[in-house]
């Protein structure tokens, strides 16, 4: 096969020969496959991407500044709006930090329900990602299948928490509500339903030759690069590093359940794809182990209006969201309002990976890579 690069060099070396020119395109902020208001400035050579320059800030809401005026309980609802697809996990991260600061001991019921809700949230997030990946690669139908099944999970969450997306369910010291009486029954129904549907997903997309060709060896992220870029979650695991906070520093009741960490081998888009699909199964496995024996107890261990005075110390709460490690840094100063709040968002680090792995690929590869990185833009901008 003739290398395009060498051909180009030959063309340019011949006097009066063909000349090609690199050009810039703006992908975004309004582009169907940037999933929000992300803007990528692309330096293109024909169809080939030469450089990617992300431009951020289109949805910067200064959550960190707002949080400096709110107390520990009020911050939680802001985190819903960061990574809106894993809002339960975001709430949990803040709650972890605040609970660590105030040394609140939780009962096993709270921990179990938190874990189940977080895993349900993870499944719905991955289902949405699966559907959107289809749309990015041109298979519009998968989008509807993914959303249809995700809808069942959001219905469960809605019944228990009163909201579909911005749950604000996990609060410092417990939960906003107790679980709904129908919760257990409906979760079981959904799990049974999903088990069948996942096989369908495999036939429709995973085994499809076109999808495999589109994802195989596209956007290869080696494990060294992934680590040095600080990427976490399925992106890092796709590169073959089994870093999962649920295993590493078990919070909730993750220490007592059995599950495997799916990892990739090459670190290309296919590995990231497969890791996410397998994570749905593993999450289902976790829920299955927990759903039958939710312990009895209170769902809130402190008075709902109790003052949360944070000591003058810094706390770092971490959870594994659907996209990686979310860290919440809270610096207290003997007041209800924290001195400084910082969110270490997984998407922020995962986004910059695109500058390293997209150049050299085709335009369509960039879309596939972006899609498998599974970015949620409000989480990057905060």
């Amino acid at each position: 096969m003739i290398e395009v690069g060498s051909l180009k060099a030959r063309m340019e070396s011949t006097p009066g020969g063909l000349k090609t020119e690199e050009y810039f395109v703006n992908m975004g902020p309004q582009h169907p496959s940037t999933h929000g208001v992300l803007r990528l400035v692309l330096k293109m050579d024909g169809e080939t991407v030469r450089e990617v320059i992300p431009v951020l800030g289109y949805i910067h809401r200064s959550i960190e500044k707002i949080a400096e005026h709110l107390n520990g309980r009020q911050i939680v609802h802001l985190t819903d709006r960061m990574d809106y697809l894993s809002s339960a996990m975001n709430n949990w991260a803040v709650s972890l930090a605040v609970e660590e600061a105030l040394q609140i001991e939780l009962n096993p019921r709270i921990e179990t329900i938190r874990t189940i809700v977080a895993e349900l949230e993870r499944i719905q997030s991955h289902l949405l990602w699966w559907g959107v990946l289809g749309i990015d690669l041109g298979a519009v139908t998968t989008f509807f299948y993914g959303f249809r099944d995700r809808e069942m999970i959001t219905d469960i969450l809605e019944e228990t928490t009163g909201a579909r997306l911005t749950l604000n369910y996990i609060q410092p010291g417990g939960l906003m509500f107790d679980i709904h009486p129908h919760f257990v029954k409906r979760v079981k129904e959904v799990l049974a339903h999903l088990k069948i549907k996942i096989c369908e997903y495999e036939t429709l997309l995973s085994e499809n030759v076109i999808l495999q060709n589109r994802l195989r060896n596209v956007g290869i992220l080696t494990s060294e690069k992934a680590i040095s870029m600080g990427s976490t979650g399925p992106v890092l695991r796709g590169s073959g590093v089994a870093l999962d906070l649920r295993k590493q520093k078990p919070y909730g009741v993750y220490g007592s359940v059995e599950f495997d960490v799916p990892v990739g081998s090459v670190g290309d888009s296919w590995d990231r794809y497969w890791v996410r699909v397998e994570e749905i199964r593993q999450s289902m496995r976790i829920i299955e182990q927990l759903i039958d024996n939710i312990p009895e107890g209170k769902f809130m261990v402190m008075k709902p209006a109790k003052k949360l005075t944070l000591p003058k110390k810094s706390y770092f709460g971490q959870v594994e969201t659907a996209r990686g490690i979310l860290g919440v840094y809270i610096q207290g100063c003997e007041k209800e309002e924290p001195h400084r709040v910082h969110f270490r968002s997984p998407n922020f680090n995962n986004l910059w990976v695109i500058t390293q792995i997209a150049p050299g690929g085709k335009m369509a590869d960039l879309v596939a890579t972006l899609s498998t990185l599974d970015l949620v833009i409000p989480d990057i901008d905060r």
């Binding site: 951020l56 040095s228 600080g230 870093l243 003058k312 706390y315 860290g327 840094y329 910082h342």
Partner: protein
């Protein structure tokens, strides 16, 4: 402080004796003088027994009363399965710090974020521009003395 953290701390202290433990943190945290920061960071990453290969997070805290910015780096080591918080303090009047983007590439963007919101100038940074805000934005919003006529304050009686 657990036993393992004590060994890690002694390992770090053997390379740079000015490193002290940071008491103002809920987790394992060390404080480094700002001029030694890059040296210690390089040691933390390159040393085989430590191998803090991942820079999880970087942020700044504005201590207006003390006239200081506190820079916080969260590092993670796969080898030790340990997270460490490295902090350093720089004067608020001259907010200059050395960039660690040569050690961890991701620091390039994390430092851009801190520059954008705190106005901390990173020496040897390859591309120090604003990240979130517009290029002609005035002031650095996360500083405690930042004032914006359009900012909506919560009005509490």
């Amino acid at each position: 402080m657990s036993e393992r953290e004590a060994t890690i701390f002694s390992l770090i202290q053997s390379c740079c004796s000015e490193v002290i433990l940071n008491e103002g943190s809920g987790s394992f945290s060390i404080q480094v003088p700002s001029e030694k920061l890059v040296f210690v960071m390089e040691h933390l990453k390159k040393s085989e027994s430590l191998a803090f290969v991942m820079l999880l997070d970087h942020l700044a805290v504005d201590w207006k009363e003390m006239g200081e910015f506190e820079l916080v780096y969260q590092l993670y080591s796969f080898k030790l399965d340990q997270r460490i918080e490295v902090t350093t303090k720089i004067p608020r009047a001259i907010p200059n710090a050395h960039s660690v983007s040569r050690i961890w590439p991701i620091a390039e963007w994390q430092e851009r974020e801190v520059y954008d919101l705190f106005g901390i100038y990173y020496i040897n940074h390859p591309d120090l521009r604003r990240l979130f805000l517009e290029d002609d934005w005035k002031g650095f919003p996360l500083r405690k003395d930042y004032e914006d006529p359009f900012m909506l304050e919560l009005v509490k009686e």
